[in-house]
Symmetry: C2
Subunit: 225 residues, 2 copies
DNA sequence: ACAAAAGTGTTCTCGATACACCCATGC
DNA sequence: GCATGGGTGTATCGAGAACACTTTTGT
């Protein structure tokens, strides 16, 4: 069945940049394209928006279908609409930024593993369409928002140590931070709850575990550096 | 002639929030809708994206066609895609934020004056679709960006006095600022050029006129408060 | 006892804020 | 000469940055 309109319409897709921390590296989930155009290249997960879903629902659905992921934090990034960005015709893509702790992302193994992989943001493969640009923007946005929001917590599981949180800021921000200043900074945000639990890692003093108070991303004005 | 596709496609439009300062008030340009849906309501200028133009070009073209405006600063704001936002069917709108000094906007008079008007951001009429939400977001974005960019200058003509610049920050930020601190703040950005000219306004000391060095919006980290 | 990570305070610098007076002009 | 807006400097406060040692645990 064909769908006909009086004027030409672009196709609308979502593309999702899923970031997580893996082996102490900022990493992105990519899918290897089996078909032309760009067969063999790697691409962001995503796909066409359906008639009755919001853009955000569409992004979540595609992510679920293509990667098995669910339970990720999602926010709109930017809309890419260069007429020539897809050789098949006019495709406008609403890009989303997604964040999740690696633990929440094990379902990745449930999908076709050959076609799905994590890549370090510093070592990207050849990418399809303008996906490298989208990724670069997502990374810049994430980095910028660390400094005035609690976005970093979305890369951690529900409970975490102070050191793990600091590593998020260090890895994403690409600079080492002073332990005492960092703790002072985080405490000044008043968003941490002690869980009372501790975690033993090795032959060391056990670390206190914390939890974020509330699940909303909070915006503040201080710098996290 | 009909355009047919294998899957249904949404229509894609741009909507433009044009801000300017008028009578010391932040104001928006709106168009009165002649036809249903929302006949008689006011709406943001905008319209369908054509097959061979970028989203930004489409926004500029619609602005030109509907309001006669050209030479505005434009940046992408957000993409609105609720399935029910337009009663005629699925319409996804890429919203743009536009800024310009009132002087650059006189062409407004060239259009159908009955259907076009400026409204104070504080006193909006009944608006069509989700345009009130779009406008609210645009305003929040503008206000936030004042504090870490040179966006405010886009609301001023090429040359301006220090006091005019301060008024932009005060009106958009909705708070009065100290004259000396404000000058110190602006100077620390190192983006001002003296023109050497002065402007006489009334029975007062003439004010020095400045110009922004370069036309690009610059991002900084200091606060403008 | 020692190796390794957890945890804690103080000092300094610099940007943000508060605040009051003289200057140039038109009438 | 006076009313009006244009223009300038200093003192205080607080956040950001630099910096070193003690504590707890496993082996």
């Amino acid at each position: 069945m064909q769908h006909c309109y009086d004027y030409p319409r672009p196709a609308v897709t979502t593309d999702i940049v899923v970031f997580t921390l893996r082996n102490e590296r900022l990493s992105v989930l990519l899918i290897r394209r089996a078909r032309d155009p760009y067969a063999g290249y790697w691409a962001l997960p995503g796909g066409f928006v359906e008639p009755d879903e919001t853009l955000e629902r569409g992004a979540l659905r595609e992510l679920q279908e293509e990667t098995g992921l669910t339970q990720v934090y999602l926010e709109q990034l930017y809309t890419f609409g260069e007429p020539q960005r897809d050789p098949r015709g006019r495709v406008i893509s609403v890009a989303y930024l997604a964040l999740a702790p690696l633990e929440a992302l094990q379902p990745v193994a449930a999908s076709d593993a050959a076609a799905l992989d994590w890549f370090e943001a510093e070592h990207l493969p050849e990418m399809a369409f303008d996906h490298r640009d989208i990724l670069a923007l997502a990374r810049a946005r994430l980095r910028a928002k660390l400094n005035y929001s609690t976005l970093a917590f979305k890369l951690l599981p529900e409970t975490f140590t102070f050191h793990e949180l600091q590593r998020v800021y260090e890895i994403v921000g690409e600079q080492e931070l002073d332990k005492r200043n960092f703790r002072k900074f985080i405490r000044s945000l008043n968003v941490l709850q002690e869980t009372g639990e501790t975690r033993r890692n090795g032959a060391h003093k056990p670390a206190l575990l914390y939890r974020l108070a509330g699940s909303a991303v909070i915006y503040h004005d201080r710098q996290g550096t």
